[in-house]
């Protein structure tokens, strides 16, 4: 939070500062998990993939810590109105981060199958670009929330449509690989599920940005999303 916007030195503010610090730490670990899972895919690095899987426990532990601290803060400080909404938003965002971490872990778990396919390197390039875009989106969404920056949050929401389009293109690309060479159906299928994991991380980024706009304006900006989704359904139902 901007230092201008908070009432200095109250016990509630100290609790909130601790919650935001924990949330930023959790966000950093989730970004790290996404980044490592992409690198593992690019480099066929099974050891790095194992590390992503093992590290997920730390992310889960941080989520538990945030939930416990948030519930204690609500019980002891009895915050009202926007302070209460803020603490609840931190809990919900930690849920989104935990799920994003799970998607990175799921990507890492698919690595032993994907690496069995000898000519995958050229096939994962677009997927890695897609994953990096989404990773940046999640980082921006979290920054928007921490900095109470409505403009930045709306930029994240606006990119939801690009994420859907990139996912649609990847889906088509992978289907053509399968049709060209049925012997690689299984690894390509796993790459399709990795793309789905990445798309879901993008959804979580949008959700966090929406929480941020809601906290600032009191309204969830769902109109734009709904429109994109309907449009995507008519134009591009193949990509799901």
């Amino acid at each position: 939070m901007n230092s201008e916007t908070k009432h200095i030195n109250s016990a509630f503010d100290q609790d909130l500062d601790r919650l935001l610090t924990l949330l930023m730490a959790m966000g950093g670990q989730v970004e790290n998990a996404i980044s490592k899972s992409i690198q593992a895919l690019q480099m066929s690095d099974l050891e790095l993939a194992e590390q992503v899987i093992a590290d997920d426990q730390r992310i889960d532990a941080l989520q538990e810590e945030i939930h416990t601290a948030a519930v204690n803060c609500i019980a002891i400080r009895q915050p009202q109105a926007s302070d209460l909404r803020m603490v609840i938003a931190v809990m919900r965002i930690s849920d989104s981060l935990e799920r994003s971490g799970d998607h990175a872990k799921n990507t890492a778990k698919r690595m032993p199958i994907i690496t069995q396919h000898p000519h995958r390197q050229d096939k994962v390039a677009s997927l890695c670009r897609f994953a990096k875009t989404t990773q940046t989106l999640l980082k921006n969404a979290l920054d928007a929330f921490i900095q109470t920056d409505e403009g930045k949050a709306r930029q994240v929401i606006a990119q939801d449509f690009d994420i859907d389009q990139m996912h649609g293109s990847l889906f088509r690309e992978f289907v053509t690989y399968m049709l060209e060479d049925p012997t690689i159906v299984t690894p390509i299928l796993h790459l399709l599920f990795v793309a789905k994991n990445v798309e879901r991380i993008g959804d979580h980024a949008t959700g966090i940005a929406e929480q941020c706009v809601y906290l600032i304006t009191g309204r969830i900006p769902d109109d734009e999303r709904q429109r994109h989704e309907d449009y995507a359904y008519l134009r591009d139902s193949i990509a799901g």
Copy 2:
């Protein structure tokens, strides 16, 4: 909640009753969405699929209503300890239900592509059985929560492993269809993503059951889940 366990007639109890009534209504609508999406798949009924997509807005509206009521209840009644945890659990369960509804909607959105495939009827039988099992699991998880029934919640958690196994079998079945006939790759891919949606609904059911055990015992029963997951990874990493 059992009538024995609550302090009768307090303003908090009235709020909680209203929250639980809303949660049950939401659960009913989500079960309905899952049930209709399966029926649409079985019967190739595009109209029913459209209805599932349209009805999702009502589920989203109920989630918003629950969140608003929960935040107001916390702000006005300032519940402590187990009462506070209960209200927060209702919010988190409504999030899980909303996501389960989204998975049913996503299944419905894939129908126009899936119905283009003429010989799909025999291919969706196992998928429909899988979906019905998962739908029952979600219903049982919600019942366990409403009835504060730890035994029922643990039964749901124990079935998480079966859900993973059923999903693994479906994955293999669908891959063989693709290998036998590459012309049906696209519709089968969508059936694979439907299976993934169903599996995720199962994950939400498990999550709700875990919330329930946590409320009753004060501990999240994550040990069993972790063990199953690790085992699944070694034995069956293909199914993701």
